[in-house]
């Protein structure tokens, strides 16, 4: 584990913890946000037969760097009717909430921020903090658009947590563990051991699970999409109705923190889907490190595969965003309560019956 490595290196437990906890931020989330923002703009542009950013660097690859430099220079505006303590606390809380989720995500077999047994439950619980931050931002901005956006966001995130948890419960029932690290380890080997294809082993139940796993995957993908407020579930930030939702009043680096949190969240939910259904950090075709007897190569390969799968689902999110129109509030609630929750329940019951058999 990476913690032991840093402990041996520095000889101090505190330093090892600090370095270990800052690692995902600096080697993953910030570079990911840089790439993802550009990717989003490029993907959206090419889907609409445009070119997207082209002028900063080759084909605009330095566009996000330029944007961040601009955001740093911007004035940090706090309007006089704002509730200052809450207004300043909200972006920190939102970012902290989405960053804490990374603690329980296993990037490789060698690195996991906190190897807790209730990893997936911890992630779902800590995501609730984001709701508090969003509500805080919406209320403290003292603006009707931000408040409406925050209320919608809270309603949406809370209702979509139910199908997410039901699907997670299904998986916990099959595997008997809530630790994402153990879940990933279980799906080692090749891609036919992944949960989307019924999990490890070669028994009758594995094949019985497959259709229900696919249904479960679709449900959790849709509901996590709604949890990170992305189109078609972007009613909290609906640009055409609410300016830009709960972060309308924010500028400069505070706005950048919301932005960073959004992209961190996008990857976090993709990572959850990957860890639950697509083998986590496991390679689909075996490791080069095993064939060449280079044990140090394996974690790097695992990191590559995890990032690859995660980014793939992030790209699918973008693809959906630039395909579908925004749902109405009633449609949003209908999708959740009339379709996703009953189906997830039936799925849970059937999978439960199969496991009993």
């Amino acid at each position: 584990m990476i913690y032991d490595f840093f402990y041996n290196l520095t000889g101090s437990q505190i330093l090892a913890y600090v370095i270990g906890s800052l690692l995902p931020l600096f080697i993953f989330i910030l570079p990911f946000a840089l790439v993802a923002v550009l990717l989003e703009r490029k993907v959206s542009a090419h889907m609409q037969d445009r070119l997207g950013p082209m002028r900063v660097g080759f084909h605009g690859i330095l566009q996000t760097v330029a944007d961040i430099l601009k955001l740093i220079q911007k004035e940090d505006i706090v309007a006089s009717p704002n509730d200052k303590p809450l207004f300043n606390l909200a972006p920190v809380l939102v970012f902290a909430g989405s960053y804490t989720a990374f603690a329980a995500i296993p990037f490789t077999s060698a690195f996991i921020g906190s190897n807790i047994d209730l990893g997936i439950i911890f992630i779902i619980a800590i995501t609730g903090l984001v709701v508090a931050g969003i509500l805080m931002a919406g209320w403290a901005s003292n603006n009707k658009y931000t408040l409406l956006g925050a209320m919608r966001s809270a309603a949406q995130i809370i209702s979509y947590e139910i199908p997410t948890i039901l699907v997670v419960l299904t998986l916990i029932m099959i595997t008997g563990t809530a630790s994402l690290n153990k879940l990933s380890e279980m799906q080692s080997g090749h891609f036919w051991n992944w949960m989307i294809l019924g999990g490890p082993g070669l028994s009758l139940t594995k094949f019985l699970f497959i259709p229900f796993m696919i249904i479960g995957f679709v449900i959790i993908y849709i509901s996590t999409l709604a949890e990170v407020n992305r189109t078609p579930f972007d009613i909290p930030e609906a640009e055409s109705e609410l300016v830009s939702g709960y972060h309308t009043e924010y500028s400069g680096m505070k706005f950048a923190m919301f932005f960073l949190a959004e992209y961190a969240n996008m990857f976090a939910v993709s990572a959850i889907v990957v860890a639950l259904f697509f083998g986590g950090y496991q390679s689909p075709v075996g490791y080069l490190g095993n064939t060449f007897h280079l044990p140090w190569l394996i974690p790097i390969e695992q990191f590559f595969w995890f990032t690859f799968k995660g980014v793939f689902f992030v790209v699918v999110q973008m693809w959906l965003r630039w395909t579908l129109p925004r749902l109405r509030v009633d449609q949003l609630m209908a999708v959740c309560w009339k379709y996703l929750i009953p189906i997830a329940f039936v799925n849970l019951l059937i999978v439960g019956l199969i496991t009993v058999l």
Binding site: V43, M47, T323, Y339
Partner: protein, 238 residues
């Protein structure tokens, strides 16, 4: 119940159709034209910035009169008889110094109405459309080729010439008046002899004086021409 599953099916199928469409468009070449680097070819008869070819301008003021927004301002001064302004490319003789030719391009409405009346086709629309300025004054284009001193000089020259001409005229008029007076005297003497021709004579006299005036004018212009020609010859020889 069947409606419920139909809804699910239609949701999944329509989403997948939409995703297929967007995925296809991911590989369609972009229609963007990267403007400052790449420019669209303009149509053949596009109307953009006016251009004025001062070499061919005869200062006829027709473009200024055709302009519906009065964005062209022209002032001209007649050339002196001893000045040769050359000819335009289609063979018209220039007779006027153009001391002011301003086009306020900020006012211009790109109607092209000034282009058609021009007898020498020296004002026309070009394909230049990037001419924004930070100061509005810079949008008043001065096409007159004369330097500011020359402009003043031409005006002064012409005024001098006019004054001389007026003096000549006055002298000629005085001479004519003196002649007339003499004739009148002679008439008064002849009056007693031939009273029948009384009504006809004044008319002929009037025509005579007119023809005299025109003759003097012709003399001055022709003499001017005669004077300029040798000068030109000298220039050539030099």
């Amino acid at each position: 119940m069947s409606q419920y599953f139909k809804n699910i099916w239609s949701a999944i199928s329509t989403v997948s159709i939409g995703m297929k469409v967007t995925f296809k468009h991911l590989f369609v070449p972009a229609v963007t034209i990267q403007y400052p680097d790449v420019k669209l070819e303009l149509p053949e008869r596009e109307r953009n910035r006016l251009y004025m070819n001062m070499d061919d301008c005869i200062g006829c003021d027709q473009c200024a009169r055709a302009c519906p927004v009065n964005c062209i301002e022209i002032e001209t001064v007649k050339s002196l008889p001893d000045e040769d302004l050359g000819k335009t490319s289609n063979g018209k003789r220039k007779a006027l110094w153009v001391t002011k030719f301003n086009i306020d391009i900020a006012k211009c409405c790109y109607c092209q109405l000034c282009v058609f009346p021009c007898p020498t086709e020296c004002i026309y629309m070009t394909d230049v459309y990037e001419f924004s300025e930070f100061k509005r004054d810079n949008l008043i284009y001065d096409y007159a080729t004369l330097s500011p001193e020359e402009r003043v000089q031409k005006k002064v020259n012409y005024e001098k010439f006019e004054a001389e001409k007026a003096a000549q005229k006055a002298a000629a008029a005085a001479a004519a008046a003196a002649k007339k007076a003499e004739e009148d005297k002679a008439k008064a003497e002849n009056k007693e002899v031939k009273p029948e021709n009384k009504e006809i004579k004044p008319e002929t006299k009037a025509t005579d004086t007119e023809s005299k005036e025109t003759k003097t004018d012709d003399k001055t212009t022709s003499s001017g021409n005669n004077e300029t020609k040798p000068e030109n010859k000298e220039d050539k020889t030099e």
